[in-house]
Symmetry: C2
Subunit: 531 residues, 2 copies
Amino acid sequence: MSEYGTLQERVRCRSLLDRVMKPEETIQFFKDGMSLGWSGFTPAGYPKAVPIALADHVEKNNLQGKMRFSIFSGASVGAETEDRWATLDMIDRRWPYQTGKNIAAGINEGRIRMGDKHLSLFAQDLGYGFYTKDTQSGKLDLAIIEVSAITEDGGLVPTSSGGVIPEILMACDRIIVEVNLGQPSFEGMHDNIVCNTPPHRQVLHITRADSRIGTSYVPCDPAKIIAVVESRYRDNGRAFSEQDTTSEAIANHIIDFFTHEVKAGRLPKNLLPLQSGVGSIANAVIGGLAKGPFTNLSVYTEVLQDTMLDLIDSGKLDCASSCSLSLSKDEGFPRFFANMDKYSGKILLRPLAVSNAPEPIRRLGVIAMNTPVEIDIYAHANSTLVGGTRMINGIGGSGDFLRNGFLKIMHTPSSRPSKTDPNGITCVVPHCSHIDHTEHDLDCVVTEQGLADVRGMAPKERAKRIIEKCAHPDYKPILSEYLEIATKDCIARKVGHEPQLWDKAFKMQLNLAQNGTMKIKNWDVKIDLCE
Amino acid sequence: MSEYGTLQERVRCRSLLDRVMKPEETIQFFKDGMSLGWSGFTPAGYPKAVPIALADHVEKNNLQGKMRFSIFSGASVGAETEDRWATLDMIDRRWPYQTGKNIAAGINEGRIRMGDKHLSLFAQDLGYGFYTKDTQSGKLDLAIIEVSAITEDGGLVPTSSGGVIPEILMACDRIIVEVNLGQPSFEGMHDNIVCNTPPHRQVLHITRADSRIGTSYVPCDPAKIIAVVESRYRDNGRAFSEQDTTSEAIANHIIDFFTHEVKAGRLPKNLLPLQSGVGSIANAVIGGLAKGPFTNLSVYTEVLQDTMLDLIDSGKLDCASSCSLSLSKDEGFPRFFANMDKYSGKILLRPLAVSNAPEPIRRLGVIAMNTPVEIDIYAHANSTLVGGTRMINGIGGSGDFLRNGFLKIMHTPSSRPSKTDPNGITCVVPHCSHIDHTEHDLDCVVTEQGLADVRGMAPKERAKRIIEKCAHPDYKPILSEYLEIATKDCIARKVGHEPQLWDKAFKMQLNLAQNGTMKIKNWDVKIDLCE
């Protein structure tokens, strides 16, 4: 018996009550090598009781490396599940995003195969069977879905995220359902639609951030449900990112820019639906809007963080559409649950295939704002791989929003402290060591130094503007010199549309590795090709 | 009097007959520094009489460099216009795509500012005023639109392409209309819609390639039309690309793959709507389908080439939606006009904002196929800049289709002959020198050597598969060795999700510049950072 009701109340499809079992009783269903579908999106709405029970089982019986799985979920799930699985060598493949020190180590040390993908594509491709085409059954072997309730007909009511539940159900015939009684039910907050496979894919009739086009549950054949498990674990949540002066300066540049665009008639007074990524800059932007001059705002995004509650409290937000509610465990979620009536009326949760679909993002004219690892002078951005090789989390939905937004904004500090150079390595480089977003996808680059609006600019103009407005003062002369010598050389060779010199372009990165700093003294490089 | 009717017949808005003038009489409207909007898309449907008259004027009066313009059109226009303007130093800025030896020279020598952009974004951003925000009027100064007819209310009936006519009309108040009497009217072949600005952008209710959602003309306030000019020039058209054994081998791999996917139940028997880029491979693919096993095909693309007429003649095509009809001048267009009743019933022309919109491309599940300059082992593609710096044409719509397609396919010969190495330089490299399409966007890479289906593969798996299936035999061992040493080194440093070594990654390109070949003997590089 929980203060939030009983299994009997939440599982309204009575026949499923026969399939109730304890988490440890589901261990029988898991076999080494299986492909698993998990609910969840950015530590919210993921299964906990069963993954934790299975981890306990592996640990207790020294089965490390003997039960390895492929995990497909909407995005990251809580560290107490995937990251612990990684420490127990339980993960062979992981798609399309992850968070956790140990899983990242496994990926970058070559023990875990990971792939990232634009999340909207991941969702649909999972449903189309692209990820399971080489498995024996051609399907996902098993799914674990956390729900708030099961409807009379077996429909699954998700918890704090939409994720890829519809696509998992398309690709999987054996489902373990975790009914979460550790928190209030999210029934009514979701708008689900199961996207058909082309050529029968539906029109998504979303014309406002809060348009409802589906049902509060995801339809599911009850015959597919092989186990119903009670869970009382709450989401691990997303740690609250403190704002700092850098983030606040960036937020102020962005709000000034919005003000300018409204004045110029290119943005409505209440702006357009906002998408803001995760982290301290995103927090500062949303926090800044809560104190800012704009009202009747709306949000169309994939993740809601704690400051979204402030924006609702400010009275300036009409509605927020998201794939997940990713609040902090100790502050955000308790605050949300204590005022669920107030907050839930403003928030709509959608499956990933809809929250990140190009169709509504472009139609609504979303203002897309995301943080990269580094950006280059021509406005390419690296969102995933430090040094071009080390995976952090994955591309997530940044490409869905940046490619399709009305305004496409990347924000980053101009420099970051590094172990070897506490004064900072530059986040603005000649050429990104990995490119996730191209020069064709970005409108504005913002750092605490300023905002470069590069719309309609040719590459060399963009480079000048980005260096001038965004680079850290320590790096401005270095970057300007690169642009100058690269331009001179490439123009002389009549190949100078977008100047680069391949013996020098990565000198800052190589120097960081060799000498511990990106502050190079000159652009000279002597290279011997050893032919 | 033309065999295709008179101005009086084509200009049904009678009041506009007062504004008929000769091409040379429109020269008065052009002032140095103006921003111009042109109809047209991939040498089809662009204005000719007025641009040629203005070029004659500049040439005759030695005004080279004294009348320079910014040109915004759907994509490239005929060489007799933009390329001649480039030779006369009449172009300051050019967006978002171009073709021609002289305009490319101007861009790569730094005399012409060019920018390329995903075409669907270019269209909407032009309408939103992003390209004219820094001009004095905040608008395009002047537009030149080729039409087949003007309706009673001033509506413009385009000719052989949709292009960005709706967005030009949103951004421009002074329009010169060229009525093309040198060819039959295209009235009835177009389906136009003017996309509103967010938050009022409409749903695009396209559920089949041939869905009609708009009107046969683009609405235009007749008061905006300052001149009506008669033209008899036909489109310069797209030279027919001969098929060769390489292209045919690629086409065969693709058709085999489709057959496999149909058998596996992941593609319907009549496939899904096809998008095929331009050039000899695209021609071979469409030609192959005309002889192949699939029927009731449909096409949803941006450009139709000559072989599309073969596909229609084969009886295997139900319908083709495109932004332009870009046939060859001497064969394709005469063949089309001689059988216009037959062909026009199968072809629908749309504005760029619709032909390339993510919304219908994703909903219909388009199979996207395009040719890059080079591809890398991790499946990033360079579509625009040779050597990472020299602009060829522009990204065009490749990103619109590859990002949103059901299957995203890149096809290229495995190697190309170069001036210094007639045996060929590899088109599969360790790291692309410019990235237009990321690893998150591609499903399959195809060369004459084979097809690599990399769906669901982690980076190192993709690299192995692409080298194995797609690289030229001369380069396979070289690329495999790179992957091996990069993997070993990065894994040892625990940064090996997607291995690259920045002192070596561009060795093949540097060696081509220094020693004339990409066939390097080893991966050793001695680098002195000169600190």
